[in-house]
């Protein structure tokens, strides 16, 4: 079903319901010119592709021009899509809705023009909206994904083979052989024949193959890396195994040594009391030795102290002598002081006399300048002081022996060693007491040890010591080797972590299988591309020739249609020679035959909308065309015809067994709209 709202000449809502229980595929929409036949096919193209074009105009140079129809315009000559009367009256709703079945599911495709209603819209402020409602699954889609879906229904590039316009034969002229190949139409033909499956497909397959090749190269590099890592892991394993062997040997030796130690310890346990006594004796001997050393030192000190012991007895007389000498020593000291003072004074006066202006060393005053009298007085003073100094010196010299005696006696004054000697004596006594005690203890131990084989015990102890050393050595080695094993295991785990997947061989095999399979696909595609084009061309040529012979009024006058490599078409006469100037009718029939052959060969199934199929051909050809297409049961064929080419009554009567439905389009001048009148339902 096709629903229209304000679509071109269709003011308001209208619909064509193509559903028929008859199982027939023949449909016809009759109508005079400008009643909306072409608008109907335009509606379907617009809902699919969002565009509609005016009919082609051929200028004097035989150049075709056609323009895209605007969505809105107040000017009818612009061929806008929105009904002009609706637009003028402010009704800007535009919609085309297509109801169809696809792969067993009911679909509704809708395209609308969304307008800013308060303002008079232009194409610039109109947004087209596209929706798809899958009624079977009740899913809704819109926009780009719907357009992609439409491309799988009927790709835009091949629509010209399904929307056929008999009035625009020129569009198909390129199908008729010419010296120049029409590249666009050739591409369209390749598209409808699904050549992209091969041509684009081979590029896709090669691209995928290259992706896998890249992976293969990477995997090969990874495999090399993995191989190196595997080698390293193997080396680690060998190293671990070697170290483990040594470790095991040490472990065995260690067990033996430990067992020996355990045995010796058990044996020694039996001699533990003797050992304790022996240890005690050892301790006593050590203590005795230490005490003897201390005593030796004390004896030596006591001997030294005893040498000065006589001083103790001289102390009282020394004290008396010191008391006696001390006043003399005081006098001696005073004399020394006087002599020093006199010397300074004499020096000063001698300087003054020599007019030395240096200040006095005693009082710091600067000397007065002396006259002769003063100098004489000073000289007298000097003489007097010199005499005084000589006397003092003589007196001092006489006291020299007393000073020496005093200094010697003073040394002995503090030598009171008696306390020290007593202390030493006490220490000696104490230590000697301890020594006696230790001797007693030693004798007791010796008595207890009497009869015990100390050598055996000592030997056992020695043996145990050795074995313990051995165990220590073995344990150390075990630890060291365990550490080496751990280090190798760490290295091994690092290498293992760096491995990509396994060693790469499995991945490599799988990858190779994939690549070989893709290469096989590539070969198949290449081989098919090579000869499919020729075979297809021959097939289309055969199908088109067959159709052409069934459509032409003069089947005996033509032998066949011939297709060249570029799908250029030639009509061959009964002698298999190309017809030099085929009539427009023959050209149109040939073009229609080719289009039909292409459509048959294509894997696209879509209704054919044949607008004015009778243009350029006579009544006989028209009947043949209708008979040919409507007889086909595999596809809906909608013929849009005007009364100049087909009279509805005659067509319906003649082809009643082929027709599913027919309509007639009229124009209601009061309502300014096309009206749809069902005829055969």
């Amino acid at each position: 079903m096709v629903e229209l709202l304000n679509w071109t000449s269709y003011r308001g809502r209208h619909h064509f319901n193509f559903y028929s229980k008859s199982g027939l595929n023949g449909y016809s929409i009759f109508g005079e010119n400008s009643r909306g036949k072409t608008s109907f096919t335009d509606a379907i193209q617009w809902v699919l592709y969002g565009e509609a074009w005016t009919k082609a105009i051929i200028d004097s140079n035989q150049t075709e021009t056609k323009k895209r129809r605007p969505i809105v315009s107040a000017d009818e000559t612009d061929d806008p899509l929105l009904n002009v009367h609706a637009y003028r009256e402010g009704d800007f709703d535009l919609m085309v809705k297509l109801h169809f079945d696809h792969e067993g599911e009911r679909m509704i495709l809708t395209r609308t023009a969304d307008t800013d209603k308060p303002r008079l819209p232009t194409d610039k402020n109109i947004t087209e909206l596209l929706f798809l409602h899958n009624k079977t699954q009740d899913t809704k889609h819109q926009g780009g994904e719907v357009q992609i879906f439409i491309d799988t229904l009927l790709p835009k590039s091949i629509r010209r083979f399904f929307f056929i316009d008999g009035e625009s034969v020129n569009e198909y002229r390129a199908l008729i052989a010419s010296t120049e190949e029409n590249l666009e139409i050739r591409k369209n033909i390749e598209d409808i024949l699904n050549f992209p499956i091969l041509k684009k497909g081979i590029q896709d397959i090669i691209s995928v193959k290259n992706q896998y090749r890249t992976l293969q190269t990477k995997l090969a590099s990874d495999t090399k890396k993995n191989r190196n890592l595997s080698e390293k892991i193997k080396k680690c394993d060998i190293e671990i195994s070697n170290i483990q062997r040594i470790f095991d040997r040490f472990e065995d030796d260690s067990k033996i040594a430990k067992s020996k130690v355990s045995k010796l310890e058990s044996e020694i346990q039996d001699h533990s009391s003797s050992e304790k006594l022996m240890d005690k004796r050892k301790g006593i001997v050590n203590q005795k030795s230490s005490i003897k050393n201390s005593l030796d030192s004390l004896y030596s000190r006591r001997k030294s102290e005893n040498k000065h012991l006589w001083l103790y007895f001289l102390q009282p007389s020394l004290q008396n002598k010191i008391k006696e000498i001390e006043p003399k020593i005081a006098v001696s000291s005073e004399l020394n002081h006087n002599i020093s003072s006199l010397f300074n004074k004499i020096s000063h006066l001698q300087g003054v006399i020599l007019e030395d202006e240096s200040p006095c060393s005693q009082c710091g005053a600067k000397p007065h300048k002396r006259d002769e009298k003063g100098k004489k007085q000073d000289l007298d003073k000097i003489k007097f002081m010199q005499n005084e100094m000589v006397e003092s010196k003589l007196q001092l010299d006489s006291m020299e022996s007393i000073k020496i005696l005093f200094s010697k006696i003073k040394d002995f004054k503090n030598l009171n060693r008696i306390k020290e000697i007593i202390k030493i004596e006490n220490n000696i006594g104490e230590l000697e007491g301890k020594l006696i005690e230790l001797n007693d203890q030693e004798n007791e131990v010796e008595r207890l040890l009497d009869g015990i084989d100390e050598k055996t015990v000592a030997k056992l102890r020695e043996k145990l010591k050795k074995e313990r050393v051995s165990v220590g050595y073995l344990e150390g080695n075990l630890l060291r080797h365990q550490k080496l094993i751990d280090e190798q295991n760490v290295q091994k785990s690092i290498h293992k972590r760096n491995l990509i997947g396994s060693d790469g061989s499995v991945e490599s095999d799988l990858l190779l299988r994939k690549i070989k399979s893709i290469e096989w696909l590539e070969n198949i595609w290449n081989n098919v591309i090579y000869d499919y084009s020729d075979k297809t061309r021959e097939l289309i040529q055969s199908r088109a020739s067959e159709t052409f012979r069934s459509l032409t009024n003069n089947p005996n006058g033509y032998h066949a249609l011939n297709l060249n490599q570029g799908f250029g078409l030639r009509i061959l006469d009964s002698n298999s020679r190309p017809v030099a100037s085929p009539s427009p009718g023959a050209q149109q029939v040939a073009a229609i035959s080719l289009i039909d052959a292409l459509r048959q060969t294509s894997d696209i199934e879509f209704p054919i909308l044949f607008d004015t199929p009778g243009a350029s051909i006579d009544q006989g050809h028209r009947n043949n065309i209708i008979n040919h297409f409507w007889s086909k049961r595999d596809v809906q064929l909608i013929i849009l015809a005007h009364s100049g080419e087909f009279r509805p009554d005659e067509v319906e009567k003649k082809h009643v067994k082929l027709l599913a439905k027919t309509w007639e389009l009229k124009f209601d001048d009061n309502q300014n709209t096309t009206t749809i009148h069902p005829r055969v339902i």
């Binding site: 491309d151 835009k156 992209p196 299988r513 081989n527 499919y532």
Partner: protein, 65 residues
């Protein structure tokens, strides 16, 4: 709307070629038809990323062991 691919002349031509050049023994038998279907669905698409991606995914979904 595309017809079922098994009906198409092209598929027949491909199958005829497969008779001459059989697939490697490890190639999943359905691979060719499934690749064909992807290429058929995307034959009119200018951007080939999607079809290539789908082929890669298809290959990865198969058992190659």
């Amino acid at each position: 709307m595309p017809k079922s691919h098994s009906d198409s002349d092209m598929m027949r031509a491909i199958k005829s070629e497969v008779e001459k050049l059989p697939p490697p023994e490890f190639c999943p038998p359905e691979l060719l038809e499934e690749v064909f279907k992807i290429l058929q669905n995307h034959q009119y698409h200018l951007n080939r990323d999607r079809s290539r991606d789908l082929i890669t995914r298809l290959i990865e979904s198969k058992d190659w062991g």
